[in-house]
């Protein structure tokens, strides 16, 4: 997915192509594209099978439900993708979403008639601040991100609990204009979905077309080589965490518009679903490859699975286990494809008489 679709003149071809095997590049490209197509295919299959069993699966409210959750997850997954691409992980996004959701919703109680854009800015600022702290410790302090963000998960959640106390924000304290953000649509598409789609597009374009975007891939692909190439690793990783925090902060405000009633447990455990979406979406957990489009599709797929299981009457007790099982299937499949690909490339090289 990294290179543009158009093919400039190929190098003067030696008689290397033996015709029996596709050339390695198209093979690699195919597999990379197949990852994205694969998710779309599985998604289509899931929808078709579920609809065959339960014909009312694709009714308006289900679609809205899927899109509502999936787009929120996809939004947060954008930031997580940036972090994972650099061979790091951000476990704190769930807590950031929770804190931002409460603080932003609570602003309507604290400051009557506050402008909604200000609330959004506050939510983003909270996430940004969390991202700065995480980024500083990880990128500058060189502490493994798994540990740092795990600690941040608890710290931010702890702050959230203290701030919320025993209280909660309830729907009737929120202005209708705020609640309606979740229900508003433009040309039938929810506002949140538009925002997410726009951010996915911007992020995808940035990652493909800017030096600093490519350097995020480089860092995750081989950190040592990145250092040798003079890439400012600390600055790039720091940026990834700040972005992840800011987007999670934005996600928190949207969370408030969607759920209305917010207490200290809001978005608890969200981070694992986000990471699952990112990984299912084909972003390599050890960095270096993947796309935000894939991650967004991963979020959509996981959410559709949840709703489908629900519609099919699978007891909700089972849905988590089945979701986990499907995650393993997806990753095992992906790993298998990778190994086959590597083997095919090796084999082809031997064909060339190396």
């Amino acid at each position: 997915m990294s290179t543009a679709a158009q093919t400039p003149p190929r190098p003067a071809a030696e008689p290397t192509a033996d015709g029996t095997l596709a050339n390695p590049r198209s093979l690699v490209d195919f597999v990379l594209r197949a990852r994205t197509f694969g998710i779309v295919g599985i998604l289509a299959l899931l929808v078709i099978v579920t609809t065959l069993i339960q014909s009312n699966f694709l009714n308006g409210s289900n679609i809205r439900f899927i899109l509502g959750d999936a787009t929120l997850y996809a939004l947060v997954a954008i930031g997580e993708t940036f972090v994972v691409l650099t061979r790091n992980v951000d476990l704190s996004v769930g807590s950031v979403v929770g804190l931002s959701a409460y603080v932003s919703a609570n602003m309507f109680q604290a400051h009557h008639g506050i402008a909604i854009p200000v609330v959004f800015l506050v939510g983003i600022a909270i996430g940004l601040a969390c991202g700065v702290v995480t980024g500083l410790i990880t990128a500058i302090g060189r502490v493994p991100s798994l540990v740092v963000t795990l600690a941040m998960l608890y710290i931010i959640r702890g702050v959230d609990t203290i701030v919320v106390g025993s209280g909660q924000v309830v729907a009737n304290s929120l202005p209708n204009s705020f609640i309606n953000i979740f229900h508003d649509t433009v040309l039938g598409i929810p506002d949140l979905a538009l925002v997410t789609a726009a951010l996915v597009a911007i992020a995808a374009y940035y990652l493909r077309s800017y030096r600093s975007g490519r350097e995020l891939y480089a860092i995750g692909s081989d950190p040592d080589a990145a250092r040798l190439a003079g890439i400012p690793i600390a600055r790039r990783v720091f940026f990834a965490f700040v972005l992840s925090g800011a987007i999670a902060g934005l996600g928190g405000v949207f969370w408030a518009t969607q759920y209305n009633t917010i207490d200290a447990t809001a978005a608890n455990g969200l981070e694992l679903q986000i990471i699952a979406a990112v990984v299912v979406g084909g972003v390599a957990i050890f960095g270096g490859s993947g796309s935000v489009v894939g991650a967004a599709l991963g979020a959509l797929l996981l959410q559709t699975i949840n709703v489908a299981l629900n519609v099919l009457g699978v007891p909700s007790l089972w849905t988590e286990a089945i979701g986990g099982f499907l995650l393993i299937v997806a990753i095992t499949l992906d790993r298998g494809i990778q190994l086959r690909l590597a083997a095919a490339l090796r084999k082809r090289r031997q064909h060339l008489g190396a």
Binding site: S2, T3, A4, Q6, T7, P8, P9, R10, P11, A12, A13, E14, T16, N23, P24, R25, V28, R208, S209, Y210, R211, R214, E215, Y217, A218, G220, S221, D222, D224, A225, A226, L228, A229, G230, I231, A284, G288, S289, L341, A342, L345, R346, R349, G353, A354
Partner: protein, 520 residues
């Protein structure tokens, strides 16, 4: 096939100014001279060979030129003006590019991106102009005559192709000095030939190239000038015309360091039988025996597959075909546990990483491979462990502060003795020692040699992998030589000489008699 014979060599040095000149460079690590008073002049349009045994100081010299190390003394001039390289980036900015044997590319990025990472051509809005990027990389590959698609990802490129990507990187940075550190070591003959064509193209364009290789026929094919290093010193530096491979070998190995005398052993029954052992792409068709009471040395260049063979015998690495027999019984592959049970001990090449648990005490490290014997009702008492460690440490004369102190506090030589003690405590029938004295001071070296020799005297079959020829000649009753994954020579002690081993290891036709002036 290249048109470079000494007669068509580039202009003689006095008429051209060197692009790079290193004068009287010295470098010491922890008081040990890695490089002493070495001077090197590189001329445009000339390929300069750098040869020498392992540990002769080639890598140190490369790292100084590449800005990785700063010399303790000496001066560097580029284009006539004195410079001080502050780091690899500085060296690259000044037009010096180092191409390592196994380049580190970004496997997930495209070839063109690997070439241009951080310096991608831009179009409006600071966006990467990927078409221009691909086009420029394509032009370079066309000029070099190599078919690599700039758009494919780097994962799956052969090492030869990876090197070409590195060369393309150097060319886009307008490098005028290219240093190639053993580029052909991991290449097939076809790939190496293609690389030579590329090198010749670059040379004709006026680049100054340093070419490091153990294969002397390559040196004579593509280089015009040669510098030989030995033990950190510059032995010779002159045009290749008028030199023979024998001259170079003599310059590489001739040394004044006298090692211990070889003590012959009386071989007994066959202990280890290796039958047509093969691992695809690593080693092929390796067959040999080791008998009780005999020391067999596995010599050859680094990367020729020696360590891989012994790791396969011990079951750390897998093998694709062939068989290993211990005392007439077939040893299942891929199981170090089975190998240990069959009576094999392995002292690995990297003792810090693989031979010892650095945080554990000396006693515990010694007892580590014998815990089953020390167990009493399933428990291991600290006292038993300590006594066991003490006994063996004494026996091998390990110099330690306290037996319960971490083994990391010991010197390299004493650490190696601890690894040996760990295996000797198991009373092995076959002991494999990979680089027995690497990084060990001379005094302890002799002790380790004596120890290995006396082991054989007690009837243990010993297989030694060593890159140090004097060590091989001190220890071995028989010398096996590997080159490029194959066993190319087997010589009894009487026929083995440094020259014969180097000749076999580098693929030079062997001269039976060493020249008189080389004899120690």
């Amino acid at each position: 096939m290249t048109s470079t014979s000494s007669s068509t060599a580039p202009p003689s040095p006095p008429s051209t100014a060197p692009v790079l000149s290193l004068q009287h460079a010295s470098k010491a690590f922890a008081g040990v001279h890695a490089l002493a008073d070495v001077s090197l002049e590189l001329y445009p349009g000339e390929v300069h060979a750098l040869v020498g045994e392992n540990g002769a100081g080639k890598s140190t010299l490369v790292k100084i030129l590449g800005g990785v190390h700063q010399p303790d003394s000496g001066s560097l001039t580029i284009d006539g003006s004195g410079v001080f390289l502050t780091g690899p980036a500085d060296a690259a900015d000044r037009g010096i590019a180092v191409i390592y044997q196994e380049p580190t590319l970004f496997p997930d990025l495209s070839v063109a991106e690997n070439v241009f990472i951080g310096r991608q051509p831009l179009r409006s809005g600071r966006r990467i102009d990927s078409r221009a990027m691909d086009r420029r990389v394509n032009e370079i590959f066309e000029r070099l005559g190599v078919p690599i698609d700039p758009e494919r990802i780097a994962r799956g490129l052969s090492i030869a192709e990876q090197q070409l990507v590195e060369i393309a990187k150097a060319l886009t940075r307008n490098a005028r000095v290219l240093i190639m550190d053993e580029p052909t070591a991991a290449l097939s003959p076809v790939e190496a030939k293609r690389l030579f064509t590329v090198v010749e193209t670059l040379r004709a364009d006026g680049a100054a190239i340093v070419f490091i290789s153990h294969r002397l026929e390559e040196v004579f094919t593509i280089c015009q000038r040669v510098t030989v290093l030995r033990d950190g010193k510059q032995i010779l530096s002159q045009p290749l015309s008028g030199l023979t491979p024998e001259d170079l070998i003599r310059a590489m190995v001739g040394r004044d360091l006298v090692f211990g005398e070889h003590e012959p052993h009386e071989p007994g029954q066959k202990v280890l039988g290796v039958e047509r052992l093969t691992r695809e792409g690593v080693f092929i068709d390796i067959s040999f025996d080791v008998h009780a009471g005999e020391v067999v040395a596995l010599a050859g260049l680094v990367g020729s597959g020696r360590s891989e063979v012994v790791n396969a015998i011990f079951g750390i690495d897998r093998y694709d075909a062939g068989a290993v027999e211990i005392s007439g019984r077939k040893l299942p592959g891929g199981s170090p546990t089975a190998a240990m049970r069959a009576g094999i001990g392995l002292v690995p090449e990297d003792r810090r990483q693989h031979g010892l648990v650095m945080e554990l005490s000396t006693a515990r490290n010694i007892a580590l491979a014998s815990l089953a014997r020390l167990r009493h009702h399933g428990l291991i008492s600290a006292g038993a462990e300590r006594d066991f460690g003490l006994r063996w440490a004494e026996q091998l004369q390990v110099k330690y502060g306290r037996i319960t102190n971490p083994v990391s506090l010991l010197s390299g030589g004493n650490q190696q003795k601890v690894v040996l003690a760990k295996w000797l405590a198991r009373k092995p029938s076959l002991l494999i020692v990979d680089e027995p004295t690497r990084g060990i001071d001379v005094g302890t070296k002799a002790e380790v040699h004596r120890l290995i020799s006396s082991l054989a005297g007690e009837g243990v079959a010993v297989l030694v992998v060593s890159s140090e020829l004097p060590e091989v000649l001190t220890l071995a009753d028989r010398v096996l030589v590997m080159r490029e994954g194959r066993l190319v020579a087997a010589m009894p002690r009487a026929e083995a000489s440094e020259e014969a081993i180097v000749a076999a290891g580098t693929g030079q036709p062997a001269r039976a008699q060493p020249s008189p002036e080389v004899g120690v």
